[in-house]
């Protein structure tokens, strides 16, 4: 296979400790090498920034609710469609890109691995069909477990071995990567139009609380030793005063130690924390709780978070938090789609316009950035927008600009219609920290990879790791205007995926050979769970058990992470 040497770039790589040191990066046979032959193609990166390919830990890019979003928002594609190119299929959709666009736009930004945030198991085949049609990037998907009837029953009865067997079976059947928990208990309550808004609200009929669900799944995750920790979207998302619920949820993980062979050091990952960091008791008294949340994360080092930054665009919200979406449509009266999935979960979609001239939206924008700026450990704080909920992932370069440039933030704050009220309700105006390029690399590459248990393969430039490399036309020491940051990270000069050049001069030149990551956790045989599964399929599911499993040809290029959980 091809050899490349990227010469003279300023390399930012937490894995090998390079903080902008001028260094060469060698690629051979799809991996990072320590040296290459003279036949290697030379890429001149003088004066440019070199990093590993970025790792997206949470985005809604493939599956039934994403597609419902696409199909029900033709207006999302009006006038912004990119025609078929020499190496690319046509690509459209501003807040909900088509699968082709998803692959191309991530790659252009130097992202090479992406995790689909929520996969309803009954629809897993659909998720994988879309993953298959997303070029270049390696992907995995998180099946949702927090509203699953099997999980409820086993945890209620304290049957840890059984829940572990079920989790292992479901990961294998759906070709899933990790345990995702969304609005635990609440989305099942939504099956009756109800919700769980605190960690102690019992789920109707199943009589288990969100706290018990989270605790049980957290324990199971460590018993299984999975590469990633539980990945949670806690209850009460989006409501003023919800930091109480967030802290109560995080407390469940306090003091628990991780158990795994993948270098993972956290036992809980909380996603899009911005939406869960609200103080106040109404929209009128709405204010930032970022300080309290950031303090908690700074103290408790066995947790990681991703930001969920609001980008102040017109976008589309979509989550497995069904009741929240119904609440949102009652606020903005925009079209609401909902799908409740038997025995497993629910989901909702509502378009949303984050208007900078609306006080609440501007405060939300500030909170996301505050969480990033108050974080003491960028290896445990990741940049996301919960795409497309708080904004499209194509805005990541803009978020990087805001985090790296105080001036750009102050300009935004001054430009808001309710500037004074926004400043009063947040901490952002007084935070002048500017994240460094190295810290950005931690928040977008090394940190997420490590949290996912993939730090031996992705997120770094150590010898033997996958040759996912990105070169950006920017020099940290020569930035005169923050816009340069956004421009440079929007379209990389060059991107390698598994040692193949896929982006050159900001344009896609190859569709690569993407893989699907999934986890095979081997557990002891469990006849009880087998029987339970058979029984529930026979009596309650609308599909037969034999038709449920995602067969291998939906995962044509699998990358299986094996875990011995015996």
């Amino acid at each position: 296979m091809s050899e490349y040497i990227i010469k003279n770039g300023k390399v930012y790589d937490p894995k090998t400790g390079l903080k902008g040191d001028v260094s060469d990066v060698c690629i051979k046979d799809g991996k990072i090498a320590d040296k290459v032959s003279s036949k290697a193609k030379v890429i001149d990166a003088k004066g440019k920034t070199v990093m590993a390919g970025a790792v997206e830990i949470h985005a809604h890019v493939a599956g039934p609710k994403v597609n419902e979003g696409r199909n029900y928002r033709p207006e999302d594609k009006l006038f912004t469609y990119k025609p078929t190119g020499k190496h690319t299929r046509m690509a459209g959709g501003f807040s909900i890109p088509t699968t082709f666009k998803t692959g191309y736009e991530y790659a252009r930004m130097g992202y090479t691995t992406v995790m689909e945030a929520a996969m309803p198991p009954l629809y897993a085949r659909h998720v994988h069909e879309e993953i298959k049609d997303t070029p270049i990037i390696d992907e995995g998907a998180f099946p949702v477990f927090g509203n699953n009837w099997f999980v409820f029953e086993y945890l209620k009865n304290n049957e840890m071995d059984n829940v572990c067997a079920y989790i292992s079976w479901l990961l294998k059947t759906t070709k899933g990567y990790a345990i995702k928990i969304v609005n635990p208990g609440g989305s099942e309550a939504w099956g009756w139009g109800e919700n769980c808004t605190t960690v102690n609200d019992p789920v109707p009929y199943f009589d288990i609380t969100p706290a018990e669900i989270v605790k049980g799944l957290l324990t199971a995750n460590e018993q299984l030793g999975l590469p990633h920790s539980i990945h949670i979207h806690s209850n009460n998302l989006g409501n003023p005063g919800n930091i109480e619920t967030t802290l109560a949820t995080l407390k469940i993980a306090e003091g628990v130690r991780p158990n795994n062979k993948f270098g993972r050091e956290q036992v809980l990952h909380h996603t899009h924390v911005q939406f869960h960091s609200y103080k106040g008791d109404s929209w009128g008294t709405f204010e930032s709780g970022a300080k309290e949340i950031a303090d908690y994360f700074n103290k408790n080092k066995n947790m990681t978070m991703d930001l969920g930054c609001v980008t102040l665009d017109e976008t589309t919200t979509m989550t497995a938090d069904g009741p929240f979406e119904h609440h949102l449509t009652s606020l903005n009266h925009l079209k609401w789609a909902n799908v409740d999935v038997e025995l497993e979960t629910s989901s909702g979609i509502v378009p949303y316009v984050y208007d900078p001239n609306i006080k609440v939206c501007a405060i939300q924008w500030a909170i996301g950035l505050e969480l990033g700026l108050l974080a003491k450990d960028p290896m445990r704080t990741f940049i996301t927008t919960d795409h497309p909920n708080a904004g499209p992932f194509t805005r990541y370069p803009r978020i990087m600009k805001w985090l790296m440039s105080d001036k750009s933030r102050q300009d935004m704050l001054k430009g808001f219609k309710h500037s004074d009220k926004v400043i009063a309700a947040t901490n952002l105006a007084s935070l002048d920290r500017e994240l460094t390029m190295f810290e950005i690399a931690q928040m977008t590459r090394a940190g997420p990879a490590k949290s996912l248990g993939l730090y031996d393969i992705f997120g770094g430039l150590a010898k033997g790791m996958d040759a996912d490399v990105a070169i950006f036309d920017i020099d940290e020491d020569k930035i005169k205007d923050p816009e340069q940051i956004e421009k440079a990270f929007t379209a990389a000069d060059c991107v390698f995926k598994s040692g193949t050049m896929v982006v050159e001069n900001g344009e896609i030149i190859s569709s690569g050979n993407k893989r699907t990551l999934w986890v095979d956790a081997k557990v002891p045989e469990n006849k009880q769970v087998e029987r339970d599964v058979q029984m529930k399929f026979l009596k309650f599911y609308s599909m037969t058990l034999n038709n449920y499993e995602v067969s291998n040809h939906y995962v044509p290029n699998p990358y299986v992470i094996e875990v011995d959980s015996n």
Binding site: Y72, R73, P74, E75, L78, L334, K335
Partner: protein, 331 residues
């Protein structure tokens, strides 16, 4: 004002997409350069000069540019799309999307226009001397923000789905209007000087509709609130006032609910319900006998009979109806 004259020299076999015919695109260009601008025919890219002769040159800005289009332009789409200033005058008919997403300036079509005209309009003036088809001044599929501003005047009739999701601006129809007028409207003003077919103001949140003729059947979710004198065309007239749509949500101002309003001219009050019949597709006994005779000794397929009935009687029967017909004959 600089005038550019476009005369159609060739009628296309398919339909021409001519979004480049707009003062914004012609401004600052010579006739030669205008001729070089693209038009599209399916997946083919051609030039304006392939279909039009071009005389004159564009003004310095869009506002200084007037375009006169003549010839049989019935199959030309997108004239005036997204224009912000200037004028267009079309002497004949146009096809779909004329004045689409118009933001300013003026378009005057002396003939008829097809569907989706003035879609997503935000400003300017669009005048049609003839008739307009469906979705006049409507929103694009999925967009809850329809017409936001500007004025549309159609001297003839308009089709169905006029003013869908209207938010602002005015639409004035000289003739009649078909079903589903101002569905989902949240603002704006519509005047129908002829009759309105039905489903007027369905799901309307807010807005004002004036019908000077008759409403075929008022929605059951509109409530008659009595008669009132309201100003229209500069003079006060007597109208029946109907408020609704009672099945829809409504905003409040100062504690009062703001309903959508339909003003029906007291002369043309809504009459007793007229049964709405979809075009019946039934054969007369004589026609039925003819069918029986022709196919007497054969075992015809549903498709053969369907084709025969269409060719001979110009009636398009659905295959299910034909099957039932055959069963009936066999008995």
């Amino acid at each position: 004002m600089n005038i550019v004259k476009l005369t159609l020299t060739k009628v296309s076999d398919l339909y021409l997409e001519a979004e480049n015919i707009s003062p914004d695109h012609f401004a600052g260009k010579t006739a030669q350069q205008i001729g070089e601008l693209h038009v599209h025919l399916g997946n083919q890219t051609e030039k304006i000069s392939d279909y039009f002769s071009v005389e004159g040159k564009g003004g310095a800005t869009a506002a200084d540019t007037k375009i006169i289009v003549s010839g049989a332009t019935d199959k030309v789409k997108y004239i005036g799309m997204k224009m912000t200033a200037g004028e267009i005058e079309v002497l004949g008919n146009t096809d779909m999307y004329t004045a689409g997403w118009m933001a300013g300036g003026k378009i005057h079509v002396k003939g008829n226009v097809d569907s989706f005209c003035a879609i997503g309009m935000t400003g300017g003036e669009f005048i049609v001397d003839g008739n307009a088809k469906n979705y006049l001044g409507a929103s694009y599929r999925g967009d809850w923000r329809g017409m936001m501003g500007g004025k549309i005047t159609v001297k003839g009739n308009a089709g169905s789905d006029t003013a869908t999701f209207m938010n602002g601006g005015t639409i004035d129809i000289g003739g009649n209007v078909d079903v589903h007028l101002a569905t989902h409207a949240e603002g704006g003003k519509v005047i129908v000087r002829g009759n309105a077919k039905g489903r007027v103001g369905g799901q309307m949140v807010k807005g004002d509709i004036f019908v000077l003729g008759q409403v075929e059947r008022m929605m059951p979710t509109y409530i008659y609130k009595g008669d009132e004198e309201v100003e229209l065309d500069g003079k006060k007239q007597m109208f029946q006032v109907w408020i609704g749509d009672m099945g829809e949500r409504h905003g409040k101002r100062k504690g009062e609910i703001i309903y959508g309003k339909i003003y029906v001219s007291s002369e043309g009050a809504a009459e007793a319900p007229v049964a709405r019949t979809e075009r019946k597709k039934k054969l007369t006994d004589k026609q039925l006998d003819q069918v029986k005779t022709i196919f007497k000794d054969q075992e015809p397929t549903v498709q053969q009979i369907r084709t025969y009935i269409y060719d001979t009687f110009d009636i398009d029967m659905k295959p299910m109806q034909i099957s039932r017909l055959i069963d009936g004959i066999k008995r």
